[in-house]
Symmetry: C2
Amino acid sequence: MTTINKRDRLIESAALLFHHNGLNATSLADIAKHADIPIGNVYYYFKTKEELAMAAVAKRKEQFSAGYALLEEHIDDPRLRLIESVYYFEKVRDEYTKYGCPIGKIIVDADVEKDHVVQMAAQVFAEFIAWAERQFRQLGHSTDARRYATFIMAGVQGAAIMAKATRNPEVISNEIQRLVSWIENLPNRKIQLGKVAMKDMSTEAA
Amino acid sequence: MTTINKRDRLIESAALLFHHNGLNATSLADIAKHADIPIGNVYYYFKTKEELAMAAVAKRKEQFSAGYALLEEHIDDPRLRLIESVYYFEKVRDEYTKYGCPIGKIIVDADVEKDHVVQMAAQVFAEFIAWAERQFRQLGHSTDARRYATFIMAGVQGAAIMAKATRNPEVISNEIQRLVSWIENLPNRKIQLGKVAMKDMSTEAA
DNA sequence: GTCTATAAAACGATAGAC
DNA sequence: GTCTATCGTTTTATAGAC
C-alpha cells in the first residue's frame, strides 16, 4: 500500500508540531507543509483536524505501551522497572524543558470532559498509573500503590513545567533523583513483613 | 475616573476566561461579551490581545505578591509560612482539578523564549521560588533552599495536572499532605547545628 | 469615551478536475 | 489517490460616526 507512507508522515508531523507549538496554535496548513503534502490532500486521510490529532496522540500512547512491555520483558525486579521508567525522562530532559511534555500539554490545554483528544491523552497517563500501580503491588504496597503511582507522574509533570518556566533542565534531573531515591528506599513488604521502619519519599540520595 | 471600571472588568473577564478556556481558545469577542462591552471598545483600553493578556497575568502576579506579604505579616515562623502557602492550594483544589492552574496553563501553552505573556507568567513562579527560598534559608537550609522551593511549586503543578487528567481532586490533597509533612519534618539547622539525622521529603505524616 | 460597521488575514473544510 | 481553487467562518484589528 502506497497510502500508508503519507498517512504516517502526517501523523508524525502532527505529533511533532502539536508537541512543539501546541494543539490550538498548530494549523493543518502547518502540518501539511511540514509533511510536504498539499492541504487539500490531508482531508483524504483525516476528515477533521480532531481525527488527525487523535491519531497523533494514539501513536504516542502506543509508544509508551511498547515501553512498558519492554520493561516487563527485560527487568525482573518491579522496583528496578519503576526506576528505569523514571530514568526515561532523563533522556527527554532538554526536550521537555523547551517544549514541555507532549501529553501533559494536551491535558492542560483543553476540557477533559468535552474534548476527545484530551480524553485519549488522559488515557496515556491512566495507562502509566495502572502499570506503575501493579509494580508497587508486587512490592507489597497494595494500599498505597495507586497513590504512589500517581506521585511519580505528578513529579515528572511538575518538574517539566518548572523546568520550562525557569529554563533550567536540572529541575527535571533533581526530581528524577528524588523519585529514584524514594523508590530505592521503599521497603519490600512482600519479603520483610515484620519490619515497619521505613524512610520513604526521601529527597536525598543514600 | 469612569474608565477604570470598564478596564478592570475587561481584565477580570480576561483572567477568568483565560484560566477556564486557555489563552488561545479565548477570543477578544468572548472576553468583551463576558464583560458586557462591545468589541470595538476593547481596543480603546488595550491596543492588542497580548496587552490585555499581560494585564490579566500582571493582576494574578499582584494577587500572589499580596499573599506573600500577608504571610510575612501574620506568621513569624518561616516553617509555618511555607506550610500555610502550601495549604492555599487546598482552597482552589476543585477549581484546579477542572481548569488547571491559571499560571501553569500559560507556561505550558507557549514558547517561554518568545512569548511576552509566558515570560510574565514565568515571573510569577520565579517570585514564589524567591520567596520560598528565603524561608528555607531562614530555616538554615541555604544550600538546598532554591531546590526545595522549586520542589514545592513543582509538586503543586504536577498534582494539578494529574488531578485534571484523572478528574480526582484528592490527587492535589495527597500532594499537599506530602509537602506539608516534608516541611514539618525538616530540621531547623539554625538552632540544632550538630545533629544531622534528618528524615526529609517524607510521604507519610507523622 | 463609546459604539457600529467593516477591513484583512487565517483557519477548517469542501468541490471538483486530474 | 492527488492536488488546486475556493467557500464560509472566525479572528484580530481599524475607521469613523456619535
